[in-house]
């Protein structure tokens, strides 16, 4: 296509061919739903629709991630927007017959509100979705990511036509600056200022780069966005390139994200075919091309200078230079690197305007933010909320609270370099600055919810253990400092902590924070510093009393069978893999502590009505019951 008018004409053509009232069935085929079996569901859907002769009457669409991953695979039937959850292939004939054929709702597949027991028909009315504001992520559920026509049908690339035909590059830049869009990948640097720096930097050749190297444990929002709506990211990238004056772009995506690699590759090809990428885009005279680069999956390569070094074909190590990469980045040329989600916000801002964008969010953080809500949470999934929403609303209203009646303990935000936020800060308004003030950070939007059964020292140890493998190993404070911090934390969780360990951790943290080469090392102590700030008593209990208050650290707990509660039911005795339980039928069970491996099987299998197996920490083990007193005479036998 050679002009904006031609694109609009083409868009009209697509819409004319589409009947908005025609029944359509969308199935989530994001990575999480695929793992729960949506591939099989798709196969039976196609087969069943054909078998019931509905092939021409119904559109089937495989979409990207809808967000409510906990209850996948998800089916939404349009135009009514009927939402069915946790679909298995065996449910498909009924859905096709009842809902597509007879227009009846299959009640048993609907969402059931746990508080009211009411069944909810429409996707948007499910509390998980109802309390979100899905500007960026919303289209994921309605388009086929492999179809550029689907994207055009929802108004895709209209921001690009607007930018190219009605705005100068300077105006685009000013609009982004005015929106105060901050980078969604970690630091929250204002995107407009970054762009401006590159635009004004000397040099003919400039680059724009999509950072899709999301590597935090539990985070997958960039992945899902790139998988589910790759054109929105591309459109943002092209607009950014136009504003900056770049003609070459890169998508740096980890090769462990095969579907994202595939879909963005298809999207680029389609955009090229449609004249939205390549030379003289839509007749504007602006040239721009994009290359996909697959990263080898190194957490440190998400750091901007390390990513650029990797793009240059060298080992992904951060650069020691104190020069911003938007001035001298990839191949020493001005390079703007933004996160997937940041780029996907750009078309919205250009289409709707900066004033529209800034009505959402807080003073310093505008717009919405996508979070990967995982851990001990009822509704695991991806949520998009306005900046400034409280943690409590995210965790309880959207996330559905903590499962199994457990109590909330902390939420870890910002990935391995973020921090843990305790219960007393649940009303914290989530934005870049508030999270930093609380000793954590926005990071790439990971939110790991932890319940009362979580040991905070162990959590800090877990993240440092992650980081020690992911550090590039170049600078001393990170490579050696993190190693020593991990050693100290491991000692503490083993009950081998000594007085002075906390102070030593703090000293090492300060050196890593102040003297590391890149942000990975500088933020590596955050898991320690934030848990020390809010859960210092847990560290002290481990060190001084050799007690793990959450009953997690293996070396500090003992399993014990309460002789008063034990019914000699033989269950734990049979299941114990170490044969560490002595006793027998009518003989109270007891644990041979010498043999016990603390695997916790007895604790898990003891019937809750008995609750005889206990975990103890920091307490003396009650003396064993003498052999002859362990025989129990059952009441039924007595009679």
């Amino acid at each position: 296509m050679n002009s904006p008018a031609e694109l609009e004409q083409f868009r009209k053509g697509i819409l004319l061919k589409r009947d908005p009232d025609k029944p359509g069935i969308t199935l989530c085929c994001g990575s999480a739903c695929l793992a729960s079996g949506s591939g099989e569901v798709m196969a039976s859907l196609e087969e069943e629709i054909e078998r019931q002769g509905l092939s021409d009457a119904v559109d089937i669409r495989q979409t990207g991630c809808h967000g409510c991953c906990e209850r996948g695979p998800i089916i939404v039937i349009r135009p009514e927007e009927i939402c069915y959850l946790q679909i298995e292939p065996k449910d498909v004939p009924e859905i096709v017959l009842q809902t597509l054929g007879e227009k009846e709702i299959v009640e048993r597949l609907l969402y059931v509100d746990p508080s009211t027991n009411a069944r909810i028909v429409h996707e948007s009315q499910i509390p998980f979705y109802k309390n979100q504001q899905r500007h960026v992520f919303g289209s994921n559920g309605s388009i086929d990511p492999k179809s550029i026509d689907d994207y055009l049908a929802i108004g895709g690339y209209s921001a690009l036509t607007k930018a190219l035909s009605a705005m100068t590059a300077h105006q685009v830049l000013e609009e982004i600056k005015k929106s105060n869009l901050r980078g969604r990948g970690g630091g929250g640097f204002p995107a407009g200022r970054k762009w401006e720096g590159s635009r004004n930097a000397p040099g003919e050749v400039k680059h724009v780069i999509v950072n899709a190297d999301e590597g935090d444990p539990g985070a997958y929002k960039d992945r899902s966005l790139l998988e589910g709506n790759p054109h929105s990211v591309l459109e943002g990238l092209i607009i950014g390139a136009y504003a900056i004056g770049a003609h070459e772009g890169y998508v740096y995506v980890r090769q462990e994200y095969p579907l994202a690699v595939e879909n963005v590759g298809i999207a680029i090809k389609q955009a090229e075919e449609y004249g939205l990428l390549g030379g003289n885009i839509l007749g504007s005279g602006f040239d721009f091309s994009v290359t996909v680069h697959q990263g080898a999956g190194a957490f440190v390569s998400g750091e901007s200078t390390a990513l650029m070094t990797a793009l240059e074909g060298r080992a992904g190590e951060p650069r020691p230079k104190y020069v911003r990469s938007n001035i001298r980045g990839l191949s020493n040329r001005p390079s703007v690197l933004n996160n997937v989600e940041t780029w996907a916000n750009v078309p919205l801002i250009i289409n709707e305007g900066a004033d529209w964008f800034t009505q959402f969010g807080t003073e310093g953080s505008k717009g919405t933010k996508i979070f990967s809500l995982v851990g001990n949470i009822t509704n695991t999934g991806l949520v998009e909320v306005p900046m400034g929403i409280t943690l409590r609303d995210i965790i309880y209203k959207i996330g559905g609270g903590i499962p199994a009646g457990k109590r909330f303990k902390a939420v870890q935000t910002g990935g391995p370099s973020g921090g843990c936020i305790p219960e007393e800060l649940l009303d914290l308004k989530v934005d870049f600055d508030e999270l930093t003030k609380a000793g954590s950070m926005m990071g790439s939007g990971g939110m790991i919810v932890m319940d009362e059964d979580t040991c905070m020292v162990d959590v800090a140890r877990y993240f440092l253990d992650f980081l020690i493998d992911e550090s590039c190993g170049k600078c001393v404070p990170c490579r050696e400092g993190v190693r020593q911090m991990l050693e100290i934390l491991t000692d503490i969780t083993k009950g081998e902590g000594t007085e002075g360990d906390i102070e030593l951790l703090e000293e090492l943290s300060a050196v890593a924070r102040d003297a590391s080469l890149c942000a990975l090392g500088a933020t590596a102590p955050n898991p320690i510093l934030s848990t020390l700030r809010y859960f210092r008593d847990e560290y002290e209990a481990h060190i001084e009393e050799k007690r793990c208050p959450a009953l997690v650290c293996k070396e500090l707990i003992t399993y014990h069978i309460d002789p008063v509660k034990c019914q000699a039911c033989m269950i734990c005795l049979r299941k114990c893999p170490a044969e560490a339980i002595i006793g027998g039928k009518n003989m109270l069970h007891a644990i041979d502590q010498e043999k016990c491996t603390k695997c916790g099987t007895c604790f898990e299998v003891c019937p809750p009505r008995f609750g005889a197996v206990q975990k103890l920490s920091g307490e003396f083990l009650p003396p064993p019951v003498p052999e002859d007193a362990r025989i129990i005479v059952r009441r039924s036998k007595e009679q």
Binding site: L467, C475, V482, R483, E487, L517
Partner: protein, 204 residues
């Protein structure tokens, strides 16, 4: 070259644009300790022993002087409580790896570093990268490189290249602040001794 005027420890120092703070300090005779720095090699910024404090917009920040570029009117401090404490911890961390390195022990005396403070895991290599970078940048042979990542990273000779290039060079040996490099070489030599291409003596 444009001249840049900056202050180091309260002294006016004239430098050329493009110089690093370390170079400016050295030219003025102000000592800053280094471990991974070598004047023939690209600045590396790895050991962080050369940290100094710079004042930017009334905000003091710790930076590696070997990579930080000079700026007009920049105020640099090369010794302070914070700098010394950082250098001390860096030395202590390295001493856990290479407890007998003379270069480290000399500095440890000056900064009061305690070599027994952290759990030892002697690998002898302190990852200054002098050998790797010298071989790549000056000799352009790449016979020795880093392998691995994070705490398990180490230096290693690449037998195929080392067997052809190293026997009459060994210019990296005196650069090494510990004995790790020679050990790595001997190891490679031993592992490759069965290979005919590993020439131990000049071919005559």
């Amino acid at each position: 070259m444009t001249k840049v005027l900056l202050q180091i420890d309260g002294r006016e120092v004239t430098a050329r644009e493009g110089m690093t703070v370390l170079q400016a300090a050295q030219s003025a005779g102000i000592p800053i300790p280094t471990l991974c720095h070598h004047e023939r090699l690209e600045p590396y910024g790895g050991c962080r022993i050369c940290v100094v404090e710079v004042e930017i917009r009334d905000w003091t920040r710790l930076v590696a002087s070997c990579v930080y570029p000079v700026e007009q009117d920049l105020a640099v401090t090369t010794r302070s409580e914070k700098i010394d404490r950082t250098r001390k911890v860096v030395l202590e961390l390295l001493l856990a790896r290479a407890p007998d390195s003379v270069a480290l022990l000399d500095l440890a005396k000056e900064y009061g570093a305690d070599s027994g403070r952290f759990r030892k895991q002697a690998s002898f290599c302190i990852h200054c990268g002098l050998c790797v970078r010298y071989c790549a940048e000056v000799k352009k042979k790449n016979a020795v490189g880093f392998i691995g990542r994070g705490a398990t990273r180490e230096i290693s000779f690449i037998p195929e290249i080392a067997s052809k290039e190293c026997w009459d060079c060994k210019e990296c040996f005196p650069l090494c602040p510990t004995s790790a490099l020679q050990a790595a070489y001997v190891l490679t030599e031993a592992l490759s001794s069965s290979s005919p291409s590993f020439r131990r003596t000049p071919e005559g």
